[in-house]
Subunit: 169 residues, 4 copies
């Protein structure tokens, strides 16, 4: 079983957070998305609680693999390094491409089916950082085709993690 | 390969529509959900177009199997015929049950990943008939734990079918 | 958020194991399926290690919900209490029904995408208890349409849990 | 709705087949995998029938998107153009990466849940071209981390398409 070594795994945990921040998204902003989704259900919940749960989601291997792959494709699209027609599909966020959603689902799935509704909802409503990413997308030099779905999925997974914990019921 | 005979298949196509109507939902109401999801993208789209696509979705076998199974569980829960603790989980629509969403996904999936966002969105916003089903749920004698997710999923799948057809672009 | 109380949750953990045993499957037999899947990758692995991982899988809520729902449908089909045509689809294990696989996937999914290959493999090869369940199915009085997929899925999920743990690498 | 133009869509249908062939896999070889999966169920089935169904699967948009994305990642990994640690995960086919399986599922899913068992089975048993791809992988210059899962998924989806058609029952 070929795999990363333990020290590489730990370095990866930090690298994922740095990578997301380099792409313009803070853990605080993801936590705010989770708070947006959950505040009406748990009156004692704080944004800090949400950030704590976002961090726990980001330690999961399936989540890390989806994030690494999606951001890589966004970055290659920005540099024009993908082949036709994939370059256009990703750089221009074609509505029927769908692989961005598929990677997002693999994140949401980690905490079960209850997260899909939340993911779909924030993906449509686009609160907070998701709105900012969507606006940036319209400029030519950046590509967030995968990033916005990945971030929404992490926020939705953190919301599921809170629901499963039973801690704020 | 044990399967239904051809004439049973055709009878099933009609039975599914009748079953949904018996549970209080018309094809027109599902079409209105699809229209709610798609009207901003396609200016020539009508509710009739949406109902046409809903009917096409309801001919798909995976869709029929999910609907038959989900409505059966709703009906058995209404009659109190399920064992503890499943009876309570379904009759009281426990938030962490999740099997209702899983059956809904198998419907949305038929037209690919692009439908999940729409499903999540209407499941949260609950327009039209989904609002009515939600209100009925609070009365003791009816159970729509599966039905509301199934109906939302059919509407979202019909929206995906419209997007894939390219007809209204 | 309507949910089970803590003491009900603990009782459920025991009930799930009892329910599986009542349907004719022991944890030992599920552990043997996991061992069958993993023995060639980890030379120090024992069946006991596998049973330990099976028990951990059975504590997961999504897993419990899928098992409760699937076994309930098997039992109702045995008693002839489902409506036409669902009664025949489940009692006769129609090859295109597919809801049994969908519930199984929700179990496998708990430990990520790597478990699907293992699930598909044992579902075809049918080693150990899966072979016995398949033979029993041919008699008229029992229905294991859901059970065999659920058991295979628990075994595959336990195999994924072992792979993720890195303990036997 | 930003999308490919009709003439681009038609060109893409041919491009997908050419791309797969450029990576060393013929439609005939994929058809043989499907035949391997289905011959025991349908005695009149031929490899030609299977190739016909493989071609139909390859016209589906979700299938094309998954293939384009996966082969692109294989090719970039061969050239060493991905960032650490994704470069190693894909180039060395790390067992816990899992995104290759996720893209494969989006292909299998197009014809419903019944295809997953077949996908898992051939992915383990590795008949025909899957064995050849696996052996080539061990040489340093090529990467088929995504390709073998994509090809297995197309073959499994074609098997599901045959089962759904009812034509060979």
């Amino acid at each position: 079983m070929m795999d990363l070594r333990t020290e590489e795994r730990q370095a990866l945990d930090e690298y994922i957070i740095k990578k997301i921040e380099d792409r313009g998204v803070s853990l605080q902003q993801i936590g705010e998305l989770t708070y947006f989704l959950q505040e009406k259900y748990y009156k004692d919940l704080t944004v800090d609680d949400c950030v704590h749960n976002v961090k726990a989601v980001l330690l999961k291997r399936e989540v890390q693999n989806a994030i690494l792959t999606g951001i890589q494709l966004d970055e290659l699209a920005e540099k024009g390094m993908l082949d036709f027609p994939l370059q256009d599909m990703i750089a221009k966020d074609y509505s029927l491409y769908g692989i961005d959603e598929i990677l997002a689902f693999s994140i949401v799935n980690v905490y079960g089916s209850i997260g899909f509704t939340n993911f779909g909802y924030i993906d449509k409503v686009k609160p907070g950082i998701l709105r900012e990413l969507d606006i940036k997308d319209d400029s030519k030099s950046v590509c967030h085709t995968f990033l916005d779905d990945l971030i929404g999925a992490v926020a939705a997974a953190a919301a599921s993690r809170i629901a499963h914990s039973g801690k704020f019921d």
